[in-house]
Every structure is written in structure tokens, then in C-alpha cells.
């Protein structure tokens, strides 16, 4: 076509790149992530009568059931020792703390799975950095975690935990858990576009992870049941690493921490696993992001 030949293409600079996972405009990226997370959050809590309390009740109810069952009926908590021979009077707080951390993880990953598909109207009609979607899900779960941790704090202080310098580790623990959840959120949300059975599969895996982490069963019981090398494998699960370190650093120093079980090399390996998973999640999301709109 003659018109096409007369267009000065060479002087036009860089052509547009089409849809992408990220953007160079970080301000917009952040505003967007924050705003989506906030509206989703508002939707959930102002849509129901009891609002925020429902969100709080879930971990608390789970805690109530598990605590009653395992300490009063099953005597696990009573028998649970912080260290050999010393009963752990802070088992309850540790249980609640682990449940709250797990709730964050389950919420972030579980809601992320279908997030890209559910935002179809946005994805099909507007150009925006696609990564915003899973990130806003994780961010929303982080809001909740912050609020739930306040409850844990109150509960801990009431149970006799005194402020410790090692509380400074808490941001690190949460950061590691968040990176882990974000890696999975990116991976799962992009896989779900192509495979719809990712949702039920992930639900099952999530359940398995709940029992494969020190939530109900204290680490000492695991150590009693498994050989030391298997305990190390158990602890390499990023959830186990973070939960156990939380129990140690934030609540009771008598409980062994991740470094004591794994050694520093082991913890670094654990962090490496999280980093690798994040990298995989990021790569998969980044590759699929340009084509999400046409595959929905």
C-alpha cells in the first residue's frame, strides 16, 4: 500500500511492546496493586454484616477447636515440651501464631489461583501490568495477617510472653513467607489460565502443607518420630522453617529455632528454595502474561 511506504517508520522510536507482566512506571504499578488489594478487602469485609470479625473468627475458631481437641482431650499440648523434659506452657500461643501464619499463606495462594481468570473483564479490556493481579491478592492477605498478628500479640502478652529483642526477626520471617507465597501465587495464577484443575489440586496440597508444618504437632514430636536427616527434610519446607522460627524467636526461646535444627547452611538452603520457587513463578508468569488476554 502506497500510504504505508510514506510513513517515516524509522523516526518513530520504539514501538509499543504489548501486554506485559511488569511496567517501567513503578508508581502506577504500586498504586494499582494497592488499590485492587484495598477494594477487594473492602468488598469482603463490608459486604457482610459481621465484616471484619468473620475474618478474625476463622483462625480463632480453628484455634479453639484444635486447642480443645489436642490439649484437653488428646493431651498433646500438655505433653508438648519446649525442650526435652520441660513442658511448654506457651503451646497455645504458638499454635495460634502458626495458624495465623498458615491462614495468610492459604489465603494468599488460594485466592491467587483463580485471580487472573476472575479479573477477565479487566484483562481483556485494559492494558496494565498483569503482575498486579497476583500481587494484590498477596498484599490483601498481608493486610489481614497484620491485623491477626495484633490478636496473637495480645494473646501472647496475656500468656506471659515478654517483649524480646528477637521480635525484630518477625519482619524477616514474614518477608520470607511472603516471598514464598508470592512465588506460588504467580505460578498458580498463570497455570490456572491453562489448566482449570489447578484449583482443586492446590487445595489438597495446601491441606497437606498444613499437616506437614509445625502447626498442631510440635517439632519435638516430629523429632521423636523421624530420623534426624528426615527432620531436616521436613524443616526445609519453607512453611516449617518460618513457622518454627516464629515459635522460637517470637514466643518461646526454649523451643528450638530453624537455625538450631537446620544449621545456618540449612537455613540458607531453605531460603534458596524459596528464591528458586519465586524465580520459577516469576518466569512462568512473565512468559504467559502477554498471551493471557487471548487464552481466557
Amino acid at each position: 500500500m502506497s500510504v504505508a511506504e510514506s510513513i517515516p517508520y524509522e523516526s518513530l522510536g520504539r514501538p509499543i511492546r504489548g501486554p506485559e507482566a511488569l511496567t517501567r512506571d513503578w508508581r502506577r504499578f504500586w498504586h494499582l496493586t494497592l488499590n485492587i488489594a484495598r477494594t477487594e478487602w473492602k468488598l469482603r469485609f463490608f459486604g457482610s454484616v459481621l465484616g471484619y470479625f468473620w475474618q478474625l473468627m476463622r483462625p480463632l475458631l480453628l484455634f479453639g477447636v484444635l486447642y480443645t481437641f489436642f490439649t484437653v482431650i488428646g493431651h498433646v499440648g500438655r505433653g508438648a515440651a519446649a525442650a526435652p523434659g520441660r513442658p511448654n506452657h506457651l503451646y497455645g500461643v504458638q499454635l495460634l501464631g502458626s495458624i495465623v501464619l498458615f491462614t495468610f499463606f492459604a489465603e494468599a495462594t488460594g485466592a491467587a489461583v483463580s485471580s487472573v481468570v476472575q479479573n477477565e473483564p479487566l484483562v481483556r479490556k485494559i492494558q496494565f501490568p498483569r503482575m498486579v493481579i497476583p500481587l494484590s491478592v498477596v498484599l490483601g492477605a498481608l493486610f489481614n495477617l497484620g491485623l491477626n498478628l495484633v490478636v496473637v500479640l495480645i494473646f501472647a502478652l496475656a500468656s506471659g510472653v515478654r517483649p524480646m529483642l528477637s521480635w525484630l526477626e518477625l519482619p524477616l520471617i514474614i518477608a520470607l513467607l511472603t516471598v514464598f507465597a508470592t512465588g506460588l501465587a504467580m505460578l498458580l495464577s498463570s497455570l490456572y489460565v491453562y489448566f482449570r484443575d489447578v484449583a482443586p489440586i492446590w487445595e489438597v496440597i495446601s491441606q497437606i502443607l498444613f499437616y506437614a508444618s509445625p502447626v498442631i504437632v510440635p517439632l519435638l514430636s516430629v523429632q521423636r518420630a523421624l530420623s534426624p536427616s528426615l527432620v531436616k527434610v521436613y524443616m526445609l519446607n519453607p512453611l516449617a522453617t518460618t513457622f518454627q522460627q516464629f515459635r522460637h524467636a517470637v514466643i518461646n526461646h526454649a523451643t528450638p529455632g530453624a537455625t538450631q535444627v537446620l544449621g545456618y547452611g540449612g537455613v540458607i538452603a531453605g531460603v534458596g528454595i524459596v528464591a528458586a520457587l519465586f524465580a520459577i513463578g516469576f518466569t512462568v508468569f512473565n512468559r504467559t502474561a502477554p498471551y493471557v488476554a487471548e487464552n481466557l
Binding site: P8, P15, I16, G18, P19, L32, R124
Partner: protein, 413 residues
Amino acid sequence: MSLSPDGLPAVAARSVGKSFRIPEQRVHTLKERALHPRRRIRYQTFRALNDVSFAVAPGEFFGIAGRNGSGKSTLLKCIAGIYRCEGDIWCHGRLSTFIELGVGFNMDLAARDNVVMNGIMMGLSPREARRRYDSVIDFAELHEFRDLKLKNYSSGMLVRLAFSVAIQVDADILLIDEVLAVGDAAFAQKCFDVFHRLRDEGKTIVLVTHDMGALQRFCHHAMLLERGSVVHLGKPEEVADRYLEINFGRDPETIEARGGGGDGDARVLEVWIEDEQGRRLPAVPQGQRVTLRAHVRFMVDVDDPQAAVHVYNEEHAAVVVASSWVQHEHSGSFHRGEEVVFSFSFDNVLAPGRYSPVITLAHRGSGLDVMDRYERGFSFMVTSTLAMGGLVDLATDVTIERVGSQIEQEIGA
């Protein structure tokens, strides 16, 4: 093609192509994939766009026409950065899009949250986005419904809100996909007003439309797509002609020789509608006297020709039918090459909506001996502040009188 002072177009595309891979059986699950890892998934490739090149100068109103499935919307999505495509596309300036009748809403949220969210998506800061909200609601005329969740909106309200959002971002380039096909007459009129305003403001607009009237009225240049390829790029009139040919299988040669179904002894060149001041209008308000005119050229010597008009509404009911034969049975003799204008004036009592007049030119006699029939080339809107629901709105006087009731009479007795 006119270019900006620095010579750069606002939107340019070079050899843009897009294929979709459609799997023959869709494997939806990881399970199937894991159970049959070596089963090859066969794909059908659908070529939606093929070697499309064009440029739109800043401040230009550019139309894209084409039949359903010709690749118009795909092209718009490539420009908007929603699809990744082959070839290169350049956009200079902030982009605002109105695609698939929306701008991407969350149905569970009220208008306000959606408008703010959309502003941020377009690159505004949250504060700017909030500031913009009032003007969006004003334009959409949705004040009463501002706190309603979008899922409770009617589809017309949704489109109004979406269009309002798209045009109120203060973007440099607007991509608008088929907004005229929806909404009532008042909304269409509003769209036209907006188009005029945006044109005057020097915005660059890419409009996808099926409405050839609008295409010719607003666009500086236009492009016709057919099966993903550019069939014509140039003046909107040419594009409109080619579009009608493709759509209704009308061959230009045949039109020259025989006219639209007639023997071709005369041809309707143009049809338009005027108000009392003689202004040509795309939309006429109800209640005024309007004149529908048909510009005709005779190809041979003709005695006592007659012209008839059928004005069809959207349901294809002929609401107004008039013929020159009634008042001008002996209209006179015309020579070959002579041009005349047939005018039909009437009080516009038509209900608000879109109307398509069909002009038929016939030889003396029964009117069945057709020389040319002009249809589908022109339509006009009738606007009104009030739609009562009838085909026409006649000036109706309503009175209410009290009459003595049965009960009163009985009591009186």
C-alpha cells in the same frame, strides 16, 4: 495523510499481523496432560490480522470499518496493548480505550470505586482519579445511581458509564469500538456531540464502526478491513462505498449501470435531512418541520418521473411513506445529465430512534417501473426529551373533567 509539525503520526502500524491458535480439543486439566503427556494437541490457526499498515496523524479522526469478524476489534486490542502481535505499532500520547462495550469494570463495586480504579489503570494518580469522578458521573447522567453496585445497572447505564470513563481521562488518543450500536437515541446524539468536541479539541480518535453515516460525517480518513487485511485506505466516502459493496454484494459496476435494483435511467446521488433553517443534520429534534432531500441525476431523457420515500424505523416498519406522484403527477420532462432535488417536508412527529429512508425513483405510471432504489446509505436520528413508546408522537391534548359519580347521585336522590 497530514502529519504533525514534527512529522510524526500519533498512531502508526507496520505490517501488523495476529494469529490465534485454537486447539481442536481443548485440554483443560493438568490431569489429562499428565496422563497423556505425549498426545499432541492439534491446533487450528486462525489468521485474524494480516499485514496491516496505516498511520493516524495527531488530531485526526480515523475510522475503521469492516464486517463482523474482519479483525477490527483485534486490531484495536493490538493498538491498546491487550494482545501481543506481529509487526510494530507506535503510539504517541496517552491512550484511552473503549473496547467490547466497556472499560473493565468490577460488577460488585459501586460506580465511584470503578471510576477511580480505571483512572489509576490509565496512569492517573489516585488523587487525580478521584477528582475526575464527578465529571464522569455528570456526563453519564447517573447521579441517582452513584452508590448502586454495577451489577444492578442496566446494560444501557453500564455502557454510558464506560463511555463516559473512556472520554474523561483526558487522553491524547482514544480507541473507541462500536459505541453507536448501543444505547438509545439520546445517547447516540450525545456520542455525536462528544465526537464533535473531541475533534475540535484536536484529539486523535480511532473509531471502529458499522455506521457509515457516522464514518463519513466525522472521519478524516478511514480504513476498510476484510478478513484481516486492508481492502481500502483513504477517504471515508470511498470506504463507505466499498463497505456497502462488500456487505450487500453490490458491485460498483452494476450500480453505475443499473442502479440499486432499477434500470439505471436515473440515479440517487445523495440523501440527507435538513431542519427549517436548511442545516443538514445527523439528528433532528422531534416537533420541528424537517425536509428529506434526494439529489438525483437522470442518465437518459425522462418524462414525468416520480420519487417515493419510505422511512423505516429500527423495527423495519415503514412509518412514513410519501410519493411525488400525489402532488406532481406530471413532474415534467428532464434531459439526460440533468440533476434535480426531490424534497419531502413533513412535521417530525416520529418517536425518538434511528430511521432509514429508502428512496425509489420510478418512471411514469404505477411506480413499479423502477429506475433506482437508494437504501442503506443514509440514516438519521430523531431525538426527544420524552419517549412515550408509540411509533409517532402526535400532539395530544389531555383533559380531565369531573363527572357526577353514581354514588353522589344516589346520595343526592
